[in-house]
């Protein structure tokens, strides 16, 4: 398995607050890696640094041999690293399909005149985008809501749509920020299955932030634990579960 993402010495400082302190992280192809830690540990901040939303104070982010520090967020996304957000960020007033079409923007025929004249090539590109959107809607079970406004979906459906929207960009790394937050146990199980399916059938590597320990322990290949910005431990679920420091940090959360 080749190394996809190699993060070393990642540090993010907000004024006096050291939100992320010297974090290292590795992600290989077809791997599910989780980042866990108590509230305010700096997990989301790590994601924001990796996806270009924050400029890390220091540290290296290397993706397939290419440095990503300082690169703009949308360019990182185009390289194949996309994310969901802790608080769902859909295009609420647009329909479910439209959400998926917007995400495919860069794979479409964006030539101004071919669109204006509605050329054959343009129609073909739109049709294939629509087919691809349908493929993903089927996968996440939202086909019947295709023409609903995204904002009117139930919470769990919005979460799934957000994942589908990431997937239609054809990413290599999918970063999920607390995807199970607010889901009921059945939905969480579905999510569990979906994530494994993404890894095994769609060949994406997944970086996961999650508080639901059952989910994390069940699907992760490796786990990183951060506490107050500092890396605390990492290893297989088994190793992490039995690490005394982790148990102490979580005070018996699991």
């Amino acid at each position: 398995m080749s190394l996809l993402l190699d993060v070393t010495g990642l540090t993010m400082r907000f004024g006096g607050l050291l939100a992320v302190d010297n974090v290292a992280l590795r992600l290989h192809e077809k791997e599910v890696v989780s980042v866990i830690g108590p509230n305010g540990a700096g997990k989301t901040t790590v994601f924001n640094c990796l996806t270009g939303f924050y400029q890390p104070t220091s540290g290296q982010i290397v993706y397939r041999g290419e440095h990503l520090e300082g690169m703009k967020g949308h360019l990182i996304a185009r390289k194949g690293i996309v994310r969901t957000f802790q608080h769902v960020r859909l295009f609420k007033d647009m329909t479910v399909v439209e959400n998926l079409l917007v995400a495919q923007h860069r794979h479409l025929d964006t030539n101004f005149f071919s669109g204006l004249l509605n050329t054959k090539r343009f129609r073909k590109s739109e049709r294939s985008a629509l087919e691809f959107a349908k493929y993903w809607l089927d996968k996440v079970g939202l086909t019947e809501f295709a023409n609903r406004k995204a904002g009117n979906l139930a919470y769990g459906q919005q979460r799934r749509l957000e994942i589908a929207r990431c997937m239609v960009t054809r990413p290599e790394i999918l970063m999920l920020d607390e995807p199970a937050a607010g889901l009921n146990p059945r939905e969480t199980e579905d999510l569990d299955r979906l994530i494994l399916e993404l890894r095994d059938q769609e060949d994406v590597s997944i970086l996961l932030i999650e508080h639901d320990m059952k989910l994390v322990m069940g699907i992760s290949d490796r786990i990183y634990v951060v506490n107050q910005g500092c890396p605390l431990a990492d290893g297989t679920p088994e190793q992490v579960r039995n690490n005394p420091e982790v148990i102490k940090a979580y005070l018996g959360e699991f």
């Binding site: 996806t51 647009m94 917007v102 509605n118 023409n147």
Partner: protein, 419 residues
């Protein structure tokens, strides 16, 4: 029919009454004791009641009708189809409206046609600004600047002997260029800040026009701008705009100044139709969807690989191009332009049209443009209170119908029966 629909229809009708009542229902008369408010003539009131009834029943039945059509379609087996421009019912109505709009000027007075032409210019401006404000969600208060650029581009080129149809795309391109150049520095700003800076740019353009006396004639403006010709046929009594013949001479009919007015109206209509077609296409293109996505959530856009700067800049540029087209037509119609025509208040009126019509909604914008230009004209005696009325109208709208007259309905992917 649910209670909700009836209540909604009632509210709409009352809103209409309040909005139009100001303009049509009462009039002022100068009497010895001072100005008196009296009820308007019965003919005005008839229009008022008629309009109210139309709004009420329209609100009552239209949603229902469309709802039925839609549910009938979506019951079928799901497979996707792109929304097409040729939705049969809508197209038929559009054809009728267009036919009516073409025949109409031949049956009414010159003044009405002239007013309608002005209305069409505002429709064009409203539709253009709608791209920027309604779709992309960028509050642009300096839109009139691009309108001015278009107008002056045409005026200056026409003075060099260029024809209208050559100048039209050039004027649009010039305005687009200005939009692009101004957009670059300002688009990193958001919301209120963007609004203030664009307001400033609008003023800068006006001040430049006022002070570049060499080029623009300063406050005196430019006069004697050539009128458009029909394939080189002029509509003047005598040849003066560089055409090869006059219209009446060529067809061997007697001269009538009405022809010119009707010709200008039809040209404006053509431009508006083209604008509508182009914007309709844009809405169904990736770029149109990206505009809306940007309005909805810029951060999500970035996370999906869309460059916010490019998307914003394209909206700004394309919006400005429409203002340029409108501007060059305006200059051609007036035959005279000066910086006076491009004050902030114009920007405000165009913005009011967009907000009133319902952000993003094309039919709404068209209706609002008609309302904003025709109603004040029908109630001339209120002219001094025009701004007051606009203000009141906006306040009432925001209270009762913040989504605008006709909120936007975007092209939706229809579910189609599988063959």
């Amino acid at each position: 029919m649910s209670k909700q629909v009836i209540v909604n229809a009632l509210i709409s009708a009352v809103t209409f009454l309040v909005l139009a009542g100001w303009l049509l229902g009462i009039s002022m008369q100068a009497e010895p004791g001072g100005v008196q408010l009296v009820f308007a003539e019965p003919s005005h009131l008839h229009w008022l009641w008629g309009g109210m009834a139309a709004v009420f029943f329209g609100q009552l039945f239209l949603p229902n009708l469309f709802g039925k059509l839609r549910s009938g379609v979506s019951a079928n087996k799901p497979s996707f189809k792109l929304p097409s421009m040729d939705r049969k019912g809508g197209n038929l109505i559009a054809c009728f409206v267009l036919a009516g709009a073409i025949i109409w000027p031949f049956m009414v007075s010159r003044g009405s046609v002239d007013l309608a032409t002005l209305t069409l210019i505002y429709v064009m401006l409203g539709l253009g600004l709608n791209v920027v404000v309604g779709l992309a969600g960028l509050l642009d208060l300096g839109y009139v600047g691009f309108y001015a650029v278009g107008a002056y581009s045409y005026a200056l080129l026409a003075a060099e002997g260029w024809g209208f149809w050559t100048c039209l795309p050039i004027a649009g391109a010039m305005a687009a260029l200005f939009g692009f150049l101004l957009g670059f520095p300002v688009l990193r700003l958001r919301g209120d800040y963007l609004a203030i800076v664009t307001l400033g740019f609008g003023e800068i353009i006006r001040l430049l026009l006022n002070n570049l006396t060499e080029l623009t004639g300063g406050p005196n403006g430019i006069s004697g701008i050539a009128k458009p010709t029909l394939f080189g046929l002029e509509f003047n009594r005598k040849l003066k705009d560089g055409g090869f013949d006059t219209f009446h001479n060529f067809f061997d009919i007697s001269y009538n100044s009405q022809y010119k007015v009707i010709f200008l109206y039809l040209m404006a209509l053509l431009l508006v139709v083209l604008t509508i077609i182009v914007i309709n296409r844009l809405l169904r293109m990736p770029i149109g969807r990206a505009w809306e996505a940007l309005r909805e959530d810029e951060i999500a856009c970035r996370s999906l690989g869309l460059s916010p700067t490019v998307v914003k800049l394209s909206a700004f540029t394309i919006g400005a191009a429409f203002a340029g087209f409108a501007g060059s037509f305006f200059a051609a119609r007036q035959g005279f332009i000066s910086p006076e025509s491009f004050t902030f208040i114009e920007s405000a009126i165009i913005l009011a049209i967009v907000v009133l019509g319902g952000m993003g909604s094309q039919i709404g914008v068209i209706l609002a443009a008609i309302m904003m230009t025709v109603l004040p004209e029908l109630a001339r005696e209120f002219n001094e209170y025009r701004m007051l009325m606009f203000g009141l109208m906006m306040v009432f709208m925001m209270i009762w119908r913040p989504q605008g007259l006709l909120p936007m309905s975007r092209p939706h992917m229809q579910l189609k029966q599988e063959a």
